[in-house]
């Protein structure tokens, strides 16, 4: 070989930057219905190609096609649509509340509603999610009261977490929703531990771990894969690939591995990619993975291919790092519209009913917001007592904290 010359440092770059024309033509998207549905006890070595394809159910005409279709009744689908619409409306109102100074911070799910809403429906009571911050759909789809979510966001006197956590960092053991940490990825290995404990206890409950594409670069993601594969833990390992971390595109965390799902292959973990904007596909894959876990077949890694249509958080301005039109160019569409069109195609839904449902949902969300605001917002009205600040660090308050509470005069 000829003299290689100086070494050059490589930093991956996204295809386009602001001002450019978004082009997703290089994203290979399998046709709906084209990816087979293996048995849950499949030998993972025989389905390695599934880590590079995309399971889709809804085709361009809004029809549900292929081996992953047909698991949900139209009533269940209508309920799913309502959950996604509720989450979207909730987000819009809370984003606005943040802009009005009623809370410090908010994070939206815009474009990703199908992922958490459909996943929740594949779990059973008692199962535990270890979510990150863009899975509030798990709560909405499980019937967790919106008012309580808002109380948490407002850190008001009715906040179940007593004002100790950033907005949207909910916790509900009862609804299978582990307390969210602001430290990315830590929950991933905790989920595996929870699943191991369930197996140790000969229980029937399973866990679900959640992480974003950017956060898969954290070592706890890899710890989780090692433990999950070593102990065949009953856990579904979810990666939500919404293309972006904050301003960092998915290629920075992914490196040259091809896909995030492919990360599971070296561990012998069955690894699937699914259209994250297709409610039916997400649900079908989640159910497949949950069944595997519950049948002692071990973990499954699922990559949800989706797009973060909104800003990263209320503190972010995506127009600084990606074209404004990129979200319109995203080839997998809007999950709400896709399910809506499917239901219209089935003859169980219509534009009029959709508009009516939108209005109803908005009323419900506004009513919840009014109720939550009657308990206070971050800077106005009722708030948790300062005394609460000293409680709950330990089961029993040690002497030094008691002294500090006295010093604080509360």
């Amino acid at each position: 070989m000829a003299d290689a010359g100086m070494l050059r440092f490589h930093v991956p770059e996204p295809e386009v930057r602001p001002g450019g024309t978004p082009d997703f033509s290089n994203v290979t998207i399998a046709e709906a219905g084209s990816v087979p549905r293996p048995d849950i006890d499949v030998d993972p070595r025989t389905i390695r190609d599934m880590a590079f394809s995309i399971i889709r159910v809804l085709n361009r005409n809004g029809e549900a096609v292929g081996p992953w279709a047909g698991l949900l009744s139209s009533d269940e689908l209508l309920e799913g649509l309502r959950h996604m619409m509720t989450l979207r409306t909730f987000d819009a109102r809370m984003q606005m509340a943040q802009r009005q100074g009623k809370t410090s911070f908010y994070m939206q799910h815009l474009g990703e509603e199908a992922v958490s809403c459909a996943f929740r429906k594949a779990l059973s009571p008692g199962d535990m999610n270890f979510p990150t911050y863009r899975q509030a759909g798990l709560l909405i789809a499980d019937g967790y009261p919106m008012v309580t979510m808002m109380n948490q966001i407002y850190s008001n006197e009715a906040d179940p977490l007593k004002g100790r956590q950033l907005p949207i960092m909910y916790s509900s053991k009862e609804h299978g929703f582990f307390s969210i940490s602001g430290n990315l990825a830590t929950q991933y290995i905790q989920a595996v531990g929870w699943a191991m404990a369930s197996a140790i206890s000969n229980d029937s409950k399973i866990a679900a771990a959640w992480i974003g594409d950017g956060s898969t670069a954290e070592s706890d993601f890899h710890s989780a894969l090692v433990f999950a594969s070593t102990y065949k833990a009953p856990v579904v390992l979810n990666v939500v690939n919404n293309q972006w971390a904050i301003s960092t595109f998915q290629g920075i965390a992914r490196g040259g591995s091809g896909t995030f799902a492919a990360r599971g292959l070296g561990f012998g973990i069955p690894s699937l990619r699914v259209d994250g904007n297709d409610y039916l596909a997400v649900h079908a894959v989640a159910k497949w993975a949950a069944e595997r876990a519950r049948n002692n077949l071990g973990p499954t890694l699922v990559e949800y291919v989706t797009y973060r249509a909104g800003a990263h958080s209320s503190s972010d301005d995506p127009s600084a790092y990606r074209p404004k039109t990129e979200s319109d160019a995203w080839p997998l569409g809007d999950p709400v519209m896709r399910l809506k069109n499917h239901l219209i195609g089935l003859g169980v839904w219509s534009d009029e009913r959709h508009a009516q449902a939108e209005a109803e949902i908005l009323d419900t969300v506004i009513a919840a917001q009014k109720e939550a605001e009657s308990h206070g917002t971050l800077h106005a009205g009722g708030k948790p007592s300062t005394r609460e600040m000293f409680e709950g660090v330990f089961a029993e308050m040690p002497a030094h904290l008691r002294r500090q509470r006295q010093q604080a005069g509360v």
Binding site: S179, S181, T186, A191, G193, D220, A224, V226
Partner: protein, 337 residues
């Protein structure tokens, strides 16, 4: 009462706890089949089966992170980090996750885990097998930190730690595993089988967290020590002939401030001894507390003897280790001699 080494006492604590409560699980690197590199968990897998005591991948963050998940489920994991020096990869899980889970979820989820790790030097372990990281834990709200100094306490404190509803860091001074060590490395140690503190009752008993023990009553000066340094302080008191009162803290957080304050008010003097590096060490906290609570009773400045602010050196181990000579000098200076 049977005499046991500290290793046997700690193993016994886990054995008793696993026998009483099937929620207690034990795991860590080499902990299962082999029984740990110090053999602390030897025999537990054979007795309780592989789902109660097992080997973990070499992944400290994974060990602690999975233990947190298990605790959230309802188990009581007691995990081993092979050396305290290797807890740094797990530090995030310990300090931001285990320590805060109860608080951040308002009690919705709790984290009753115990993380055991051999700590301290005096074994020619070099920089990465000798560290004393206790101050990195006591600085964190939500963790309890325990350092036993003898087999009887080690068993009782570990059972108390396993039964505690909150996360407990259990630092095992490995130089004490087989006998008390007074810092005279050129002399043979008395094994625990010949030492009265090697007496460890069978069955279940606890030594409560947050209570210090007075190891030597005295009236001239109070020495605050824990772990190996308790014996070094005793040797220094004997060699100088100073009537020192030696307090073995046993738990650093929660701290038994009442015992400390009562003693310093009585003696009017205080010397603090630890193996960890001096700057920002736990001794700084103890010194501040003594000043705040006993200022008008003090007849000399509070003195600190600690490891130097260097990494733990291999060949110069005995110049680094705070031995009886250095502690003795501090005692004499504090007495104005």
């Amino acid at each position: 009462m049977p005499r046991r080494t500290m290793i046997e006492a700690i193993r016994d604590a886990m054995d008793v706890s696993m026998g009483r409560d099937d929620k207690v699980v034990v795991f860590g690197e080499d902990v299962g089949f082999f029984g740990g590199v110090f053999r602390v968990t030897h025999g537990l897998q054979a007795k309780y089966g592989k789902s109660r005591c097992f080997d973990a991948p070499i992944n400290e963050s994974g060990i602690v992170g999975s233990a947190i998940g298990m605790a959230a489920y309802g188990l009581k994991p007691c995990v081993e980090i092979q050396f305290a020096d290797y807890m740094y990869p797990a530090y995030d899980q310990l300090t931001q996750e285990a320590a805060r889970l109860r608080y951040r979820s308002n009690g919705d989820f709790t984290c009753p885990i115990v993380v055991r790790m051999p700590t301290g030097g005096g074994i020619f372990g070099g920089q990465t097998h000798s560290q004393s990281p206790e101050a990195l834990f006591t600085h964190v709200s939500g963790l309890k930190t325990v350092v036993p100094s003898n087999p009887h306490d080690a068993k009782g404190l570990l059972i108390a730690a396993i039964e505690d509803p909150d996360p407990v860091i259990f630092l095992e001074p490995k130089r004490l595993y087989n006998g008390p060590f007074d810092g005279h490395h050129d002399r043979p140690i008395t094994p625990w089988s010949k030492h009265e503190l090697g007496e460890v009752a069978d069955g279940h008993y606890t030594v409560p967290l947050g209570k210090a023990a007075i190891r030597r009553a005295g009236s001239a000066v109070t020495v605050l020590a824990y772990g190996t340094m308790v014996y070094v302080a005793q040797a220094a008191a004997e060699e100088t002939g100073i009537d020192a009162e030696i307090i073995d803290l046993r738990t650093l957080l929660p701290l038994d401030l009442d015992t400390i304050v009562a003693s310093v008010k009585k003696t009017g003097r205080c010397v603090i001894v630890h193996e960890a590096t001096l700057t920002s060490g736990f001794g700084a906290e103890l010194s501040a507390l003594v000043q705040e609570n006993c200022f008008y009773h003090l007849e000399a400045p509070v003195a600190r003897v600690a490891g130097w602010d260097t990494p733990y050196p291999h060949a110069q181990e005995w110049d680094y280790f705070p031995g009886p000579a250095r502690v003795g000098r501090a005692l004499l200076e504090t007495m104005g001699a």
